[in-house]
Subunit: 771 residues, 2 copies
Amino acid sequence: MLKNLYAPHEWQIIEETFDAKHHEMSESIFSIGNGHMGQRANFEETYSGQSLQGTYVAGIYYPDKTKVGWWKNGYPEYFAKVLNAPNWTGIAVKVSGEVLDLATASVSSFKRILDMKQGLLKREFTATLPNGKTVSVNACRFISMDRDEAAVISYAITANSDVELEVSPYVDAQVRNKDSNYDELFWTPVSSHFSDDSDAGVVVAQTKKTAFGVATGMIAHVEKRASTVQFKPENSKTEWNVASTYRLQLKQGETVTIYKYVAVLSTLNHKPESLQSATLVYLRELRTAGYDDLLKDHVTAWHNKWQESDVIIEGDIEAQQGIRYNIFQLNQTYSGKDARFNIGPKGFTGEKYGGSTYWDTEAFCFPFYLSTASQEVAKNLLLYRYKQLGKAIENAEKLGFTAGAALFPMVTMNGEECHNEWEITFEEIHRNGAIAFAIYDYVRYTNDKQYLADYGLEVLVGISRFWKQRITFSKAKNKFVMLGVTGPNEYENNINNNWYTSTLAVWTLRYTTETYKFLKEMHPAENKALVQKLSIDEAELKDWDDIIRNMYLPEDKDLGIFLQQEGYMDKEQILVSELPASQRPINQHWSWDRILRSCFIKQADVVQGLYCLEDQFDVDTIRRNFEFYEQRTVHESSLSPCIHSVVASKIKQLDKAYELYLRTARLDLDDYNNEAREGLHITSMSGAWLAIVKGFAGMRVKSDTLYFDPIIPKQWEAFSFRIKFRGYVILVRVTKLQTSIQNISDKDITIKFREGFLQIPPRQTVNELNR
Amino acid sequence: MLKNLYAPHEWQIIEETFDAKHHEMSESIFSIGNGHMGQRANFEETYSGQSLQGTYVAGIYYPDKTKVGWWKNGYPEYFAKVLNAPNWTGIAVKVSGEVLDLATASVSSFKRILDMKQGLLKREFTATLPNGKTVSVNACRFISMDRDEAAVISYAITANSDVELEVSPYVDAQVRNKDSNYDELFWTPVSSHFSDDSDAGVVVAQTKKTAFGVATGMIAHVEKRASTVQFKPENSKTEWNVASTYRLQLKQGETVTIYKYVAVLSTLNHKPESLQSATLVYLRELRTAGYDDLLKDHVTAWHNKWQESDVIIEGDIEAQQGIRYNIFQLNQTYSGKDARFNIGPKGFTGEKYGGSTYWDTEAFCFPFYLSTASQEVAKNLLLYRYKQLGKAIENAEKLGFTAGAALFPMVTMNGEECHNEWEITFEEIHRNGAIAFAIYDYVRYTNDKQYLADYGLEVLVGISRFWKQRITFSKAKNKFVMLGVTGPNEYENNINNNWYTSTLAVWTLRYTTETYKFLKEMHPAENKALVQKLSIDEAELKDWDDIIRNMYLPEDKDLGIFLQQEGYMDKEQILVSELPASQRPINQHWSWDRILRSCFIKQADVVQGLYCLEDQFDVDTIRRNFEFYEQRTVHESSLSPCIHSVVASKIKQLDKAYELYLRTARLDLDDYNNEAREGLHITSMSGAWLAIVKGFAGMRVKSDTLYFDPIIPKQWEAFSFRIKFRGYVILVRVTKLQTSIQNISDKDITIKFREGFLQIPPRQTVNELNR
């Protein structure tokens, strides 16, 4: 397990040496993005060592032909892949005829800094090339948080002796995905072009099959400090790329700086025929604004993001760094401006997991955006699914369901299912429950009941119809059962009566019924139209009610716990503490059947249900289940510790909550799973926020009122965060002594605090002593 | 569903028209082989239409890199593929400059005959080429049943007008597998060579990775009827092939015949360095023997095969043709001479299913060879597994088992697992039971108890140790359970307590214990050595006994049936008769999860257990279970109807038994599953024999005595067959009136016939009236 690779710092991630064997991991860790595009920390200059090139444009994907050993009816034909897009970071450098390449040079004074406060990736180093020439480089890169389609690089080279320098900023569309099932090239070149004044170069490329056009353009200019010389490049191009090559003499101690303004425009937002010209216009605007202004606007935008979403931890710099890193990456991945986008498990930091949307979005990320961003952002996440309802119905039809039953895909880009493991694709259907629950969560938080009439009920009805058909009646049990599912714990496949899935199904049927009745009473006109559109009748509600009343939900009455699935207690009951360290993680040491037969749990399953629906259970029940299952949970999913942490806080097991928080918050920085090189665990990053805000601070919404029940880990002096709630902005600070709640709004707010209520006037703070 | 494509005939399969759309199917149907090699009925002359080229050499395979969507620990790196070997059938023909190609010619008088009695593939046709020239061809081909490495073709061409003829017999090693995961060529050329006298040409090629060398050689000669002209060819070669091209003038009405003697030698039986020279010597022998003698020896060998294994059905020509076809193909696939070979699901008729050995061998094919061939043949099938015991132990170790536990692979060539679906590879472990049961079956039939001491116990102990570790104790049930298995019914995956698997596991533990005790008493010296070698102790026997006494075997007491698995009655109980025809076969119409959730059964599962272990159950129990499960069985495996037929005979449901017999016996000839073009269902062909001999005739071995309890389908006048039993040869003939049993041996035999015993003197027949 790698640890302490990056120095602790409140606002920065700092790497102080260059080690090729950690390079791919650092490429992930130092990734930057703006929700519209993103970039791994690939070096600007040539690097011939091991590297995972990653340039990503939101919404641009390639449908890679399915690779499967044994085909099953219902498998999709393709898997929509996150696409490594044309390279805009490249600046090839030659020093006195030799390529600058940190894999071949001797490197000293290397430092890489991710400045999270300002959203900057900085790097400096001194390199002695095989030809004996030494140069120092000081680079800074950002993807504008203010302008979706812009990125800027400054790259300063100082000569330590007289050298001939050749620098070639370039754009190259001839890039490959590492993850390609049949080793295909995903792009075809469309055009490469230099503007009439030769300043701006643009490469337009198109994805195969999907035919997304992406124009990647650059304007570069070179400045020598204290010099007014106008350097003129020699431009060159092929069908795949453009490059502007500057040749100049640098005397010892002189510095030259390359500025590279980059624009990335796509046919998602521009007409194909004007893509090139729009890119040229956009580049011209960037050049006119200039580096300093672009930087200023970018930093201001980040300042505003942090105003909304920062979490401050006092007295624990590693925890502080961890949570800020998570929030930084979440904000880089999804801005919520565009309902066509979603949050991929790796965001813009790697190719793994392909498709952009998993149940992670609703089950883990949604509350973060709901509390820290404008209401539209969370709404856009819901609308993303609403817009894909038709495809979800088609998806269910492929599996034999009828009459408007909807099964949202396990993995998707455009609403179509991408995944192809039967036990997941066809059986891990609890995702439908999380999508229904997010609607409830949104309305509970925002009180935007109009959403139910406009969009919500349609989705709920589609999902409820799926549950109705997926649930069958067992004469043997005289109960309704749900057979053949995979729960959140993917270390069980094709099980019967998974408590989590069945409980969430019953919950959905109940909530859909309640929503229908609510709309009937409160929005009669809209409801009537909906009833007609969806052909809802009383018989259908009656069918749902039968299931609600008579669903089989397995439990062990002696132990007083719900059973993860029917038959769980037939397994040999061994605790994680009894597992030899040499056998962990079990997914790297055990064959799949052995994992399946064991009692070990990959990630929260019953506990995930307790987390979602805690109001249905008393604290003793939650405690008994938590204690039983936590001892059997190996947390081999990044999505597991955070939920356990929230529930541990709920039952006041503070040490356990803290331990599990740490596993979430520094998962990638400390590379717990030895896989950060493949990309970051973006969706699980919201878990650290959940563990603090829902866990330690105990934030809930109860009966339209914001609620807190805070505790503070003994390792911390204080922690504070800010949330938005129905037009209010609330600042919460919890110290060992007390909790302060500040109402940063211009109207009164009533807050439920433990058993009591606090009335907080505008711009006032109330303090409550801890127990 | 195709039917009546081939005319009914007692001894022949006859195709009377050429239809390109049935060509691939006929290529399968008319396959020939001799257990050592095999050949699809690809045309000798060029054929540019759709065709599946298939030339196979037993034991020669290629380990194709595994193709899998989602890797699981324990999956094998490769899948051993049946290999399309160098083409030796080819005779390119040009008529007055135009290629003879039935895809472009106008074809008349086409007739293809598979003469099963003599083992000949004959073909005649008249073809008018696009250039207007017409020729008639009369071809005959056989793979020698007498000489393992020899095949012969005669190919006569008659000119219907004066033509220039160019004929080029050739051998070509540049062949591909249709089934190749990464579209690779599996062969590399080693050498191509003509003998000094230019008569014989040999191509040596080697498989990649496995480095099997195969030499394919030919000597051709051309004779014109009533002419003594010596035609001399022009020889040509590339690294991949050799060809001898004859150019000659043919006047109207003249016939020329090409004789092609073929030798196929491999490094399985020859040293690589002498492969080419050995092939030349072998070819010379064939040429010296000449066509007529080779044919005579071949026909004699077939005559002897039929003497041993023929089944005669009187009054039902289609049934007669069906059973003969099955026996013919079984004898072509496996001769039992070589314990390195086994019986692939497609034999030498197609590439599908890759590896050569499945549980099919023990569970379905074994009894056929046991009763019709010499005892060595069945013993060689057992030794095949014995020799792979070490690999089976390694295989189990990969899955976490220890201390000599053995899991034989699901699919294999050389003992290593090839398959890569977790629910099959890791969980369809009942195969281990079938392998243990075959040992029992062999000893019960042959009384060769020495086999147990020499080989059997070792295998039984390995398998029992696997069961011991695979079975766990459920505190909840206070019983031993077997979790996470796939039974013979592959329409259930990862189920708990599959009755068949658990029952067979308990049976194995009991039989192993009995065998151990038997050897201890009767073979004390050998037993002592074995005990030492295998480290068996009393504690281990005690552990096995605990399981035998306290295994959980699910049943439904109300229905009086065993439960296919725990929870089976929670499924919606729908009968196959209620399924719309439009949804069948369900494996082509339903998604996998729907199939899994349904009560529908792919193939005999509980019924398979009743078939194996019928002595443990009374007839009423067998009847209740059969009736319950048969109504839920869709028979979408070729291995299903035969077992049901045997059990239906047992419970005297004669119509059902006959219906299910027919589905087995003519499965490929009538192409029930519309897939014969991919190759024949070789292993299920033994099912037709089982349905007659074990089903209708009720043959068993009871307490060391051969037993019969015959019934006869009303559609038949009589049926008869011959079996070998412990040095006796017994001929059984069942008519509507009576059963005649003839003792074709020179000593008395006692036979149990229904409730009584018959003493039959040498060469005598006794007749017993039917009831």
